[in-house]
Amino acid sequence: MAVDTQDRPAATTAENGPTAEQDSRFQRYRIRTGMFAWIMHRLTGVGLVVYLIIHIWGLKSLSDPETFNALIAKYHSPIFKVGEFALLVAVAYHAMNGLRIVLIDFLGWSPKQKRLFVTLGAVTALIILVGGWPSIYSLGEWLFGPGTMPSLFL
């Protein structure tokens, strides 16, 4: 499904020629990026479903203070800090690529695809850096000792 939107041939060649026969460089590049974007969207989507299942299951502990405290304390162990960062990367990518698909589908932004792709890529990087700073910061403090990381805006 996603392939349809991303591989939609440019308006001038839209009539019949199948995309495989267009050998202009630009077109090939776009297909490859589109495929990759689509596969990553699928992987992150499924990953998030897995996380959501574990998350809701874990939140049963909301009914018991002791269990809940243990759960959140676990979220502070080193490996979970890494996981937290990976989760953010998955969410940020999936959200921004999803937004891109929605904008193309609903607002017909396909002529602006390339610019949209680059802009949202930059926004994604920003979300990951700003949103991921708490995890990076806490891992750094733990690895290199207290006070070694700039706390910046935290």
């Binding site: 299951w57 502990s61 909301l62 809940f68 304390a73 589908d105």
Partner: protein, 152 residues
């Protein structure tokens, strides 16, 4: 795609739920990681088993003000500032319930798309579909229960 009359509607809904999730996830992320008073996760790594994370002063004061001077800022109490608040609990629980429904619908509808792509046999599709929506329903019930009864 297996022909179903509601496919177009579901396709549309999937885009709507996705867009909603952007705003809900931003809120969720802010509340759990950034807000100094109510974030359940702090900027700290804990390695000892049974050790609790240390919360910022804003959180400690918030918990004291709401639950009494001798109450400690444990993760549970920090979250209960919102979920057991006499006024805002309804708002937060409402938000969480909406979030729960939207995330489950989006996630499991998406999962079904993926399954339909890889499972060719109609019977297999039906089994996969029924199974995944059963799991989703189970999670909905568990999630509703946890968030509604939290802080009672």
């Amino acid at each position: 795609m297996a022909a179903s009359k509601s496919n177009a509607l579901n396709w549309f809904l999937h885009r709507i739920t996705g867009t909603f999730l952007i705003f809900m996830l931003i809120t969720h992320f802010w509340v759990q990681h950034y807000d100094h008073q109510v974030a359940s996760v702090t900027h700290e790594v804990v390695t000892e088993k049974g050790e609790m994370p240390d919360y910022p002063d804003a959180a400690k004061e918030g918990v004291k003000a709401k639950m009494g001077n001798d109450v400690e800022a444990t993760p549970y109490n920090v979250v209960m500032q919102r979920l057991a608040d006499p006024v805002y609990a309804v708002l937060w629980k409402g938000f969480n319930i909406l979030f729960l429904i939207v995330a489950l619908h989006h996630g499991f509808y998406g999962l079904n798309n993926v399954l339909t792509d890889y499972i060719r046999d109609p019977m297999g599709r039906l089994v996969a579909r029924s199974l995944s929506w059963t799991v989703a329903l189970g999670l909905l019930i568990i999630g509703l229960y946890s968030v509604i009864t939290a802080g009672w």
